[in-house]
């Protein structure tokens, strides 16, 4: 009898509690995220999400791993068009124009409009905020941001008689040192290439942006309606890629993004260009002494910035937006940004994250992680325009046709420019 009353009593209290919680502000969030690197990303995201849910029992959040970047964008847009958008998602920073054009996201600066919020937004690195803004509003919050760096095998450098502490800084040095790093067997087949710059697909186009930046130009501007594909800088960049193969520093033909870290770890190449997002993967699997440097540049250092930002979707209630904003603040808080950065190699997007003890210990243990941060000041936004997928395809086709020997740089770039202008003409 007493047990029954107690039970009934506690049930009542529980009911009242949950009622009270509901009336405060309850939101059921759905959170789409992609994984684009070889790292235990899903586990880390899930752990952080669970932690937020535990701290905010009035809300619930479901983290949905939605594939690679492209698949996640497709899923989020399809869900939004069907009227069931995720409340919050991590999508490519360069999808901003697409998301604005499809009219599916809200400006975060419209929700986060108190002075404290403004201070929070100002706390991110400027380099990462450049491609989160459009027409004077902030649409996205940086989360898994990356930039490519030059990874090199110090043992291979020693074997070739090169100083393992000074990686190449310019294109000329890259060719000069690369020639020494290329090793052939008795049959004349190359067993170790000097370097490896992926040239195929979107990964290739991303790195190509870095080549162009180092020649003092950019591929796109912040208006989203201009693509600068046929310029002296793009031509020089393509010719440099061809020169690498011609001088037997890099394998001829197209080079895939996905095989690159593996080829580096297997000793097929003495150096590679790839995302900082692969730092954790390389650290875990490398059986040799390795280092990281700035991307060697044409006229000076230069790199593209890439990766994903948080977006909040339309068709959501005020409560959901508030909860989503709180969730984003939690995920990008110094401690959590540090956790995420250490687990993956992504560049923590806020200076205060780098001040946490965990991050300091990490930078001490893996000084390579600091290189990307230092390189940030020379980095420019990644290729982004309206109709990005369509416009980038022209650039991808131009690069691929040249590196596979099917076209000359000048004609390929001219054709790409014409194609891009045709698409973007509608917006001018």
């Amino acid at each position: 009898m007493t047990i029954m009353t107690k039970l009934a009593g506690s049930c009542c209290t529980a009911a009242m509690f949950s009622l009270a919680a509901t009336s405060v502000s309850a939101a059921d969030l759905e959170f789409y995220f992609p994984v684009g690197v070889n790292a235990p990303a899903v586990e880390t995201i899930q752990a952080l999400t669970d932690e937020w849910a535990a701290q905010n029992p009035q809300h619930s959040v479901k983290a949905v791993y939605a594939g690679n970047y492209e698949e996640t964008t497709t899923k989020a847009l399809t869900a939004a068009n069907a009227g069931q958008p995720p409340q919050v998602a991590v999508l490519l920073s360069i999808d901003l124009f697409t998301l604005v054009e499809e009219d599916v996201i809200v400006a975060i600066s419209d929700i986060a409009n108190t002075p404290e919020d403004q201070e929070w937004i100002d706390g991110f690195y400027d380099g990462f905020m450049k491609d989160a803004e459009f027409e004077g509003k902030t649409y996205a919050i940086p989360f898994q941001r990356s930039t490519p760096v030059y990874y090199y095998n110090k043992d291979a450098f020693r074997a070739a008689g090169l100083d393992p502490e000074t990686p190449p800084k310019t294109w000329d040095e890259m060719i000069e040192m690369g020639k020494k790093l290329t090793i052939k067997d008795d049959n004349g087949n190359v067993t170790q290439w000097g370097t490896r710059i992926p040239t195929l697909g979107l990964g290739g186009a991303w790195l190509f942006g870095g080549l162009v930046v180092s020649k003092g130009d950019v591929l796109t501007t912040d208006t989203g309606i201009e693509a600068r594909m046929d310029t002296p800088a793009t031509k020089a960049s393509l010719e440099f890629l061809l020169e690498l193969s011609k001088q037997e520093v890099m394998a001829p033909g197209g080079i895939s993004w996905g095989d690159t870290p593996k080829a580096f770890l297997e000793g097929q190449t003495a150096s590679m260009w790839t995302s900082t997002g692969n730092l954790a993967f390389v650290e875990e699997n490398a059986t040799f002494d390795w280092g990281v440097g700035f991307l060697p540049g044409g006229d000076g250092p230069g790199a593209p910035i890439g990766g994903g930002n948080f977006y909040i979707f339309q068709d959501t209630t005020d409560e959901e937006r508030a909860a989503a904003l709180d969730f984003i603040k939690f995920m990008t808080s110094p401690a959590n940004a540090a956790k995420w950065s250490i687990a993956t190699g992504y560049v923590a997007p806020r200076p205060d994250a780098w001040e946490t003890p965990e991050m300091k210990a990490y930078a001490e243990r893996l000084p390579q992680a600091l290189v990307a941060l230092d390189q940030l000041q020379y980095a420019e936004r990644e290729f982004a325009t309206f109709q990005r997928a369509k416009v980038t395809q022209y650039l991808v086709d131009a690069i691929e046709s040249v590196v596979t020997g099917n076209a000359e740089p000048a004609e390929a770039l001219k054709a790409a420019q014409e194609g891009a202008d045709g698409v973007l003409g509608d917006y001018q």
């Binding site: 492209e70 497709t74 847009l77 697409t98 604005v100 054009e101 499809e102 009219d103 049959n187 004349g188 087949n189 190359v190 195929l200 697909g201 394998a251 001829p252 033909g253 197209g254 080079i255 895939s256 996905g258 095989d259 593996k262 080829a263 297997e266 097929q268 309206f386 109709q387 997928a389 369509k390 395809q393 991808v396 086709d397 691929e400 046709s401 590196v403 596979t404 020997g405 099917n406 509608d426 917006y427």
Partner: protein, 291 residues
């Protein structure tokens, strides 16, 4: 004689599948046709009727020319090869050699694996320098080939995967057909002094014809339908050298989000498949004699 089905029930059983057909085949096809006459609208570009403008784009599309050539080459290359291989494998496992069931299993294995998994496995095989293919070449002192990274080899590499994946399935059909070939015909031929080669070409192969037509129809459908490996392995590259028609439709529609042009390409594909189906039925009706 069975009891006659009540008229109402018969109608229900007719209407439900028809509804599915209408909802998932006819309506989308019709809708694609309608969409192909409109522009690709968005918040920044109002929706408007553009007539045949999308079809003009289609006629001037250089990528489409390449994609159509690729698809034709892909179909012409994979279908005969998969059929030939399937017949060979079926004969082998039908010959009652030792280890037949193990052979059957290993030939059929690729068919059971999902295409995405197959594509990822082959991605490792093809990786230049580190993959299995390169290592085999290395044993003979040959330089590694950049299978997926060069325009000359990427499509052939895709075709190889498709043949490897499909031949096992077709083998099953041929195996069933081979077991239905009457022994007495072969015995009679042997009495007349025919050798095994002659028996195969003059007796077995003609009796396999209905199976061949059935398999050819399926292979042709698959040649247009299966693009998972292209998405996983090359995304149509490099320089569109491995892009197939359905992959192009997918890319234009879902990556580039150009629904209008995607619809136009879909209309092209539906027409193309319609023509192919009509030709095949005509051949099927004339040539196939089922027992």
């Amino acid at each position: 004689m069975n009891k006659r089905l009540p008229f109402g029930l018969a109608m229900i059983m007719l209407v439900i599948p028809c509804l599915l057909l209408v909802a998932f085949t006819h309506y989308p096809a019709l809708r694609a046709l309608l969409n192909s006459f409109w522009n690709n609208a968005s918040s920044r570009r109002p929706s408007k009727f553009v007539g045949v403008e999308n079809y003009q784009t289609l006629l001037e599309d250089d990528r489409l020319v390449q994609v159509m050539l690729n698809s034709t080459f892909y179909a012409l290359g994979t279908i005969p090869l998969a059929i030939g291989l399937a017949i060979g494998m079926a004969l082998l496992v039908n010959a009652k050699l030792p280890g037949t069931s193990l052979m059957r299993l290993s030939f059929f294995m690729p068919t059971m694996l999902p295409m995405i998994a197959v594509a990822n496995i082959w991605l490792f095989f093809y990786a230049p320098g580190i993959g299995l293919a390169s290592q085999i070449l290395g044993v003979f002192g040959l330089p590694p080939i950049n299978f997926l990274g060069s325009t000359e080899t990427s499509l052939i590499s895709m075709m190889f995967v498709a043949v490897w994946k499909e031949a096992g399935l077709f083998m099953i059909f041929y195996l069933a057909a081979l077991q239905a070939v009457p022994e007495n015909l072969k015995d009679a031929a042997r009495l007349e002094g025919a050798g095994p080669v002659r028996i195969f070409f003059n007796i077995v192969l003609p009796l396999l014809r209905p199976t061949t037509i059935f398999v050819a129809v399926n292979a042709l459908i698959n040649a247009f339908r299966l693009v998972d490996h292209v998405i996983v392995m090359t995304r149509g590259g490099p320089n569109n050298s491995s892009a197939l028609l359905l992959y192009y439709v997918y890319e234009v529609t879902f990556s580039q989000r150009d629904f209008a042009y995607g619809a136009t390409l879909t209309v092209l594909m539906v027409c193309l498949l319609g023509v192919l189906a009509a030709v095949q039925y005509w051949v099927l009706n004339r040539k196939a004699h089922y027992q």
